[in-house]
């Protein structure tokens, strides 16, 4: 069902845990399946120097959290904001269609953390325009029923 990479990140997730005195914390929930992801960032200047996550969710949710943390660690805030769920899924050698929505959690959790950070610091990122951390995201593809429903 899952690629080897997904299974690797699932069974040995990178960056699990919390950061005490994190500069940014974001938590999002998945409207579709009720799962939850929480992201902690340590930020110096405009660089994300450390990142940790906690996830209540399926194998795919755990693996995408893990991969997303790896992909933004050491990157600038702007780079992190440009991380898409598709990029995370691709880095994992793909996800089953029904599981694509899980990767959305990872993208949203990163955005939510930076959103909170920006609000606190009075910063503005154009990438966050229209982003609402409390909105339950629902617009990504998942496996579709056949035509007859």
């Amino acid at each position: 069902m899952y690629s080897e990479k997904v299974m690797d990140h699932f069974s040995n997730p990178r960056n699990v845990g919390e950061i005490e005195n994190a500069d940014a914390v974001g938590q999002v929930g998945n409207a579709k399946c009720g799962d939850i992801m929480k992201m902690y960032l340590k930020i110096e200047g405009d660089t994300i120097v450390d990142v940790k996550f906690k996830t209540f969710g399926c194998g795919s949710a755990i693996a995408t959290s893990s991969m997303a943390t790896e992909m933004i660690k050491g990157k600038t805030i702007k780079e992190a904001l440009n991380l898409t769920n598709r990029a995370v899924a691709e880095a994992l050698d793909g996800l089953p269609p029904v599981k694509m929505h899980c990767s959305v959690l990872a993208e949203q959790a990163v955005k939510a953390a930076i959103y909170n950070y920006a609000k606190e610091k009075g910063l503005h990122f154009e990438e966050l325009e229209g982003f609402n951390p409390d909105e339950e995201h629902d617009h990504h593809d998942h496996g579709h029923d056949e035509e007859d429903h």
């Binding site: 699932f10 799962d35 906690k54 209540f56 969710g57 194998g59």
Partner: protein, 392 residues
């Protein structure tokens, strides 16, 4: 080889060797079509008759009340749609429950689209219907009550005899999905007042792709598979002789020492439940404490998610199942766990381990040893767990 512990007997069972042995000649030696007049056919007809009579005996049913189908789902669809179509001029109201198997639930939903009215009864925290609510739901146009014998997820056994009595009093046809109960509970259709009952062979160490509908003599029902004159004109299609023979053998084996089978399952299951409850905090058993299937252990493990848990169990060779949305492809957590009042999060963390005839004490102990550290690991990853550790 890596240790492999199968604890998903409610999903399907391995076929018993005796069952396979009984089936083998019918694949390529005695392979004729039982409807044929020649000896290749005739000898098969008697094999089918024998299986039918073996099964009928286990149910205290007549041989002419057993109709083979392509599985439990077909039997459920047939029982429900067949009665609905036969009686729609009399009324269009059907009563069922919120905890039925999808084969019943989705069939009822399809009937709704077709102009029928369906009442879905609530259940209590143990998954039991309330007899009063059933009575209150009955209307003059109620034509069918379909309530499962035993639940496939949480194992709860419904008060079938009471339901049968009410159905009889009100002259309403009563169908029950006994796919999980068969082989694990003694069933006397006459005593219980059942008009229609669905069974499936692959849950009792028989072949897949074969089930049956018990139809009490005189019950009004239309076919759903039209065609040839098989099954006394009620279910068309060349008889699946090897599978029918296998079903018969499996039924015989299941009932020849059912008390022993039940005792063994209950003992192992209780060992499992107690062992897990001792070692893991924040878990609780779903389903009824005593009125439950002998092999069923369904526990909610708070703060974690079922699919992740199953994947980790799979890595250590343990096969179970879960009511989590994430495993079902449907994204909604189990309707059964929601119906017994669990929250989304708790329903997510449910684990069903079902014990069967090949389960050993060692298997159970292996699970009791392997599960706690896995749970702990997942809880350490869970944002829900933090609060508890801090708060409580």
């Amino acid at each position: 080889m890596k240790k492999r512990v199968y604890l998903d007997y409610s999903a399907t069972t391995p076929m018993k060797k005796e069952v396979l042995d009984e089936m083998l000649p019918f694949f390529n030696v005695q392979f004729g079509n039982p409807s044929s007049i020649h000896c290749f056919g005739r000898e098969n007809k008697s094999a089918v008759d024998k299986a039918r009579s073996t099964i009928a005996k286990t149910l205290n049913a007549g041989v002419d009340e057993i109709f083979f189908t392509g599985g439990g789902s077909e039997a459920d669809n047939w029982g429900i749609k067949g009665v609905a179509n036969a009686l729609k001029d009399k009324g269009k109201h059907v009563i069922t429950t919120k905890v039925e198997h999808h084969a019943v639930l989705h069939t009822c939903q399809y009937l709704e689209k077709d102009g029928f009215d369906v009442t879905y009864l609530d259940v209590d925290q143990y998954g039991m219907i309330k007899i009063d609510e059933l009575k209150a739901a009955i209307r003059p146009d109620t034509i069918l009550i379909t309530i499962m014998f035993a639940n496939n997820e949480i194992g709860t056994i419904q008060p079938i005899k009471e339901i049968g009595k009410i159905a009889k009093d009100y002259k309403i046809t009563f169908h029950t999905d006994a796919v999980q109960a068969y082989g694990n509970v003694k069933i006397d259709v006459k005593d219980l007042g059942i008009d229609l009952m669905s069974l499936s062979a692959h849950k009792i160490y028989g072949p897949k792709g074969i089930g049956l509908l018990y139809i009490k003599k005189g019950t009004k029902i239309h076919p759903i598979i039209h065609g040839g004159a098989q099954e006394r004109r009620r279910r068309a299609g060349t008889e699946n002789v090897p599978a029918i023979v296998g079903f018969g053998k499996a039924a015989e084996l299941a009932y020849e020492n059912i008390d022993e089978h039940v005792n063994q399952l209950v003992t192992l299951r209780n060992r499992l439940i107690n062992g897990l409850q001792e070692k893991i905090p924040y878990i609780h058993l779903n389903g009824h404490p005593t009125k439950r299937l002998p092999g069923n252990c369904n526990i909610s493990i708070e703060f974690i998610e079922g699919e992740a848990l199953l994947l980790m169990l799979d890595m250590v060779g343990i096969a179970g199942s879960s009511g989590s949305a994430c495993t079902s492809g449907s994204l909604d957590p189990s309707h059964v766990l929601m119906a017994i009042g669990l929250t989304h999060e708790v329903a997510h963390g449910s684990l069903r381990l079902t014990i069967g005839d090949y389960t050993t004490e060692e298997d159970v102990d292996y699970v009791i040893e392997q599960l706690p550290p896995i749970v702990e690991r997942l809880r350490q990853m869970s944002p829900l767990y933090e609060k508890v550790k801090g708060g409580r």
